[in-house]
């Protein structure tokens, strides 16, 4: 695995919409490298047979019985009151202007 650079940490932070100061970038470069190096041990495992298992079991990682497919009846039920959820008089989520301005 290539070792992690500060630039790469900045790029990941942008993807995650996290603003990091230089101290955080420096610290996370070291910490993430150590954590990823530790996690990289999964790459040394032969998982060819796991693929075959999964083909039979559609929902990965869940208990087998919980993975059974069920459909609920298609009936109308009350949802949460709009006012309580949106908490505004407009009936929408309000955010800073996106276009124009």
């Amino acid at each position: 695995m290539p070792s992690l650079t500060a630039d790469e940490v900045r790029r990941i932070a942008t993807l995650a919409r996290l603003e990091l100061n230089e101290g955080e970038v420096e610290r996370l470069t070291i910490e993430l490298a150590a954590i990823l190096e530790y996690a990289a041990q999964v790459q040394r495992v032969d998982t060819e047979s796991a693929r075959a298992v999964d083909a039979e079991q559609p929902a990965r990682g869940t208990a087998d019985a919980a993975a059974e497919r069920v459909l609920r009846p298609d009936v109308l039920v009350p949802s949460l009151p709009r006012k309580a959820v949106l908490d505004s008089d407009t009936g929408f989520f309000t955010v800073p202007r996106v276009l124009g301005g």
Binding site: R17, E19, V53, V95, P96
Partner: protein, 488 residues
């Protein structure tokens, strides 16, 4: 409970006893509620188990129950504490994050509605690692919870507040959430019982999502009977959570005393490097189970040593996706900004260091170029871990390990060493990865007088057998007579 219930009588009374005393007219829900609030006022300043106590709401609800008179509600008048990442309508639900500091959800989680329908009174919300990410409760934005057995120690985490509240005798029952051991590990470190049901057993509607293929709501209790009572109240399919399973309810009766014919598998290879105290107590508990009729044998779980790295890849990938919603648009805190993009960044700056670390790991392992070698690979190894358990359950009925490799560690000891902290979960994460039920039961104390827990993992939806085994441990140790240093 005596005929004159006072604050002195209440602590360490079980949920079963409280209900019986109310039904028999020996006490009232209001008296129990007042005594609970008094105990919290007196003791919690030394523990910080609670982030919020709903004084008025709890007393009003107790008065309402008293007016309605005795019913067959199984948790009638029983005070319960709820981890603060589980929604309670109109009450704070912070996930111990600055981002949700002032958030009050417009609805209650299904588990909260079900507890209330069973007659329980939600007394307050308990502390946790921010967004349930941690193993010590030190990552709470509102300060750590302390372990009632020794206040220089952590209670474990992430559900440390709920574990400490039950251990200190403030409430008989509390809810937590268990994504990689967040109920079982603090249960072990605080000397109480923590029961993670099978994935799909309990609705997660209203649980603040961390890692959706692993998260499960789970109860804390001091006795097996109380744990069974809560499980019966909260389990079952829910139209609001499509991952809930339509399985028959947990069928457990306390009179299933013998373990004759029960085969317990111990993956001895995994136990290298655990604390000597933990090893000694674990072996003693196994000896007790043998004398109760169980057959103990050595098994192998060849891929289990990979559970922690798999967990931190899969769990953090899911976390980075789930936590994308905290962008200032819909929930909680929003930073003042002139553009939407600036709002995202400034709002998300309120995440704590551990949450940022995990979002970064998750974003990295899902990013172009790395997804196959990390995330997809980890999911494949996860399948192998699951298959190991399936193979083990062909020759045994239950798998036993210690819950945690150590007893409670000191505050600050691991907080700056994420990898060391992650290894606290080495015995607990496999059950989440495999979706299996698992329980941590107190099995004595180590040389430093700190509690040790033994963990049993069972077949999917076989909670009843885990309760039987837990009950056998409970009956064969004098654990219930032990009391921590800080208590009600």
């Amino acid at each position: 409970m005596t005929s004159t219930t006072s604050a002195r009588d209440l602590p360490y009374t079980t949920a079963c006893e409280i209900r019986a005393a109310i039904v028999d007219g020996r006490t009232t829900a209001s008296e129990v509620c007042r005594a609970t609030l008094e105990a919290i006022d007196r003791v919690d300043p030394r523990l910080h188990a609670f982030l919020f106590v709903d004084r008025e709401g709890a007393l009003a609800r107790a008065a309402e129950l008293d007016r309605a008179g005795p019913t067959d509600a199984p948790l009638l008048g029983v005070p319960v504490a709820v981890k603060d990442n589980i929604c309670t309508a109109g009450q704070p639900t912070t996930a111990a994050s600055r981002l949700l500091e002032n958030y009050r959800p417009p609805y209650s989680a299904t588990v909260v509605s079900r507890l209330e329908a069973a007659g329980a009174i939600v007394i307050g919300k308990t502390n946790l690692d921010e967004f349930a990410m941690g193993s010590s409760t030190e990552h709470s934005a509102f300060g750590p919870t302390l372990n009632p057995w020794a206040t220089d120690r952590v209670p474990g985490g992430s559900s440390g507040g709920s574990a400490a509240a039950v251990a200190a005798g403030l409430v008989p029952i509390a809810l937590g959430s268990d994504t990689g051991g967040s109920v079982r590990q603090p249960a072990a470190l605080c000397g109480v019982l923590g029961f993670k049901p099978t994935y799909g057993r309990v609705s997660r509607y209203g649980l603040i999502a961390f890692a959706s293929s692993l998260d499960q709501i789970a109860p804390f209790a001091r006795t097996t009977d109380d744990a069974a009572l809560v499980l019966r109240a909260i389990t079952g399919a829910d139209a609001r959570d499509a991952t809930t399973a339509r399985e028959p309810p947990v069928d457990y009766r306390a009179d299933d005393a013998t373990l004759e014919g029960v085969r317990i598998g111990v993956p001895r290879d995994l136990l290298d490097g655990i604390e000597a105290d933990v090893q000694a107590r674990f072996d003693m508990a196994l000896a007790e189970l043998t004398s109760a009729g169980a057959q103990v044998k050595t098994i192998e779980l060849p891929h289990a040593p990979l559970a922690v790295p798999v967990y931190y890849l899969v769990g953090n990938a899911e976390a980075s996706s789930n936590l994308a919603r905290y962008d200032g648009v819909r929930y909680g805190f929003r930073a003042d900004s002139s553009t939407v993009t600036e709002m995202y960044y400034k709002t998300r700056a309120a995440f704590g260091a551990e949450v940022k670390r995990r979002i970064m790991i998750g974003t990295y392992v899902l990013s172009a170029g790395y997804c196959d070698e990390f995330y997809v690979k980890a999911q494949d190894v996860r399948s192998l871990i699951r298959r190991d358990y399936a193979a083990a359950f062909e020759s045994v009925d239950v798998v036993a390990t210690p819950t945690s490799p150590t007893t409670a560690f000191r505050l600050g000891e691991r907080v700056d060493d994420p990898l060391q902290m992650y290894l606290s979960d080495i015995f607990t994460v496999p059950a989440n990865l495999a979706g299996l039920p698992a329980v941590s039961v107190p099995c004595g104390e180590g040389a430093s007088r700190l509690p040790v827990g033994i963990q049993f993992t069972g077949r999917a939806f076989d909670e009843a057998l885990l309760l039987r085994v837990a009950h056998a441990v409970e009956r064969r140790t004098d654990w219930l007579a032990h009391r921590p240093a800080v208590r009600a």
